[in-house]
Symmetry: C2
């Protein structure tokens, strides 16, 4: 790596803005290479006020004033129209300008996708960036994509998700050769719709270099049957939210059960530290990259606290320092040939 590690940060994003982001930067600093630097975009007065309490960070961070902030409930189209001059816009622009190698924002997801797409443009053939979810499972985390709602996905797109997800999993978790599965309603070759069967053929025939293990089903996501589970943005978004909803419902009911009487409450108190470890294990990591862009952008969840945002910065640094981008590029170049090799069955109509 000759390029220095510079991280571009939207200091105003998320529910708490600089009061969380700045302390998180200070906390993450200890884990970053000594040459790493940060660019903090946001209201200069607010950012400097926080920075005053973190001298080590102040020495390695540059503050860039941004007049405005994108609201958490702003529509993507509106964010595009009035986005220039906001902290989020500036954070992403620093990537295009080559001033930083990775950008992070805890702001509005739809706006970040739209702005990143406009500024950096797509490297992959997608409507919008693909979004990865990391799902807790017994052996660690399953990389699950697309959960970012690329609704209509042909076989080529599904294979792109496989390529990007596999490279991300290696970069984020240090697994040399992640295993990949394609989400379906059964494990037989003839199951599922045409796009899924066609992507299965392409991945199985081996033109794309990754450890493809075939079809997996919905419950394999949390079983850890494979490292990377690939699906279209519609199914992925629904499945992710369904799992999140089920987990939240179980938590609420469990909390209700464990406070339903004096004996249960006392028991829960005694099991407290174990229950807390359980909760931590169930919590997905706070950040995910937007995939398929010409440049690296990470989305941190809006409710992130200092520990979460610090963790997001570490993930960003890990990915930025890995061979992530070049691995994706190498496999993406193989895709047209692999699509053609899959033969006449790959053509979906006379058009």
């Amino acid at each position: 790596m000759t390029q220095p590690l510079v991280i571009s940060i939207d200091a105003m994003g998320g529910d708490h803005g600089p009061s969380v982001v700045v302390p998180a930067c200070a906390q993450a600093l200890a884990t970053l290479p000594s040459a790493a630097r940060l660019i903090l975009h946001g209201d200069e007065a607010a950012v400097r006020a926080e920075l005053g309490r973190h001298a080590a960070l102040a020495a390695r961070a540059e503050v860039r004033h941004a007049e405005r902030v994108i609201a958490m409930d702003e529509k993507p189209a509106q964010a595009l129209r009035r986005g220039k001059g906001t902290s989020m816009w500036a954070a992403v622009e620093a990537i295009r300008e080559g001033q930083a190698v990775v950008a992070i924002s805890a702001g509005n997801t739809g706006a970040l996708m739209a702005i990143s797409k406009l500024i950096l443009r797509m490297s992959a053939d997608l409507d919008r960036p693909a979004l990865v979810a990391s799902i807790p499972q017994t052996r660690g985390l399953t990389t699950f994509l697309d959960v970012g709602a690329n609704v209509d996905c042909d076989a080529g797109r599904l294979v792109e998700f496989a390529i990007m997800g596999e490279a991300y999993h290696r970069a984020a978790h240090g697994v040399a050769r992640p295993t990949v599965g394609l989400l379906n309603v059964g494990s037989e070759d003839m199951k599922g719709h045409e796009e899924v069967r066609e992507a299965h053929r392409i991945l199985r025939e081996g033109g794309i270099e990754l450890d493809y293990r075939g079809f997996v089903e919905g419950d394999d996501i949390t079983k850890g049957a494979v490292d990377v589970v690939v699906t279209d943005g519609f199914t992925g978004n629904v499945a992710l939210k369904a799992m999140e909803g089920a987990a939240r419902f179980m938590y609420d009911e469990l909390r209700g059960a464990l406070t339903s009487g004096p004996l249960a409450t006392l028991g829960a108190l005694m099991a407290r530290s174990s229950l807390r470890r359980f909760r931590d294990k169930m919590s997905p990591p706070p950040a995910a990259p937007l995939l398929g862009l010409n440049g690296l952008v990470l989305k941190c969840h809006g409710g992130a606290d200092v520990r979460d945002f610090a963790k997001a910065i570490q993930v960003a640094a890990d990915i930025a320092q890995s061979g992530f981008a070049s691995e994706i590029e190498r496999n993406m170049r193989r895709l047209p040939a692999a699509l053609a090799d899959a033969g006449p069955a790959s053509a979906d109509g006379a058009a």
Copy 2:
């Protein structure tokens, strides 16, 4: 109701066969109308041996000998070829012959779908029967369909699922006017793929008589945002299995946490009865109807115990005695007009 309540039961289905099914019938008997009768299909010696212990049941049950049993791992195509003469086949055939009003089996789901379709034929325009899942949520149960893998669903099929799911929810839970939502990746009208948007238009325009509330998202299934959540069989199957997998993973981790040391274990023991109520609330009901057939068939889950199968019999009786079939039929007759009214946007191509 002039038609007597006769329930046709595959006594050999499920992991345990007559040793669970027969005692379950005896248990359910108390909850059934006094004129209700049962037909038990299976190995006569095995069924009679169990029946010997339940005199009240023996007086109201007829045993019909079936030579063979469909294995739990048999492929649907194989089950069709060699299904005649099995207890499952005979249980469904009794519906076509008008000898019973509802059939129940805890056997192989794929085989039951295929055999039911062959014997009863579809009333709705589906590849195979739609399968309902009942998902626990705060206020009770959400009816979720199709989870039976009708993979390709146009707008008309999604509307059929809405009609059938709504009627099922009313019959099974006594809710006069269940609310219905369509699963999507966002709540705005322009979100999602064409089939979903088109079904949304049809349901909103009101030609179909049900309380349609618009789009819902994955986490609304366990939030209880609406009573009935409708989706295609691919998305429904994936989402159901993803939720089941997430719940199972959480259980396993919770059990691990609560046995991770003497203090936690003691705490868990003290909270035991609350944790057991929690587990019971999380368990979905044991039976679901196959929808879209000319006749009523219920699938009970294979691992059902006596209590589960008894509950399945009660559900079957409730549905059979409701206006279920005629309500579906009435709304189905409105469907062609509603599809036509939805206008040119409903035509998906020159063909």
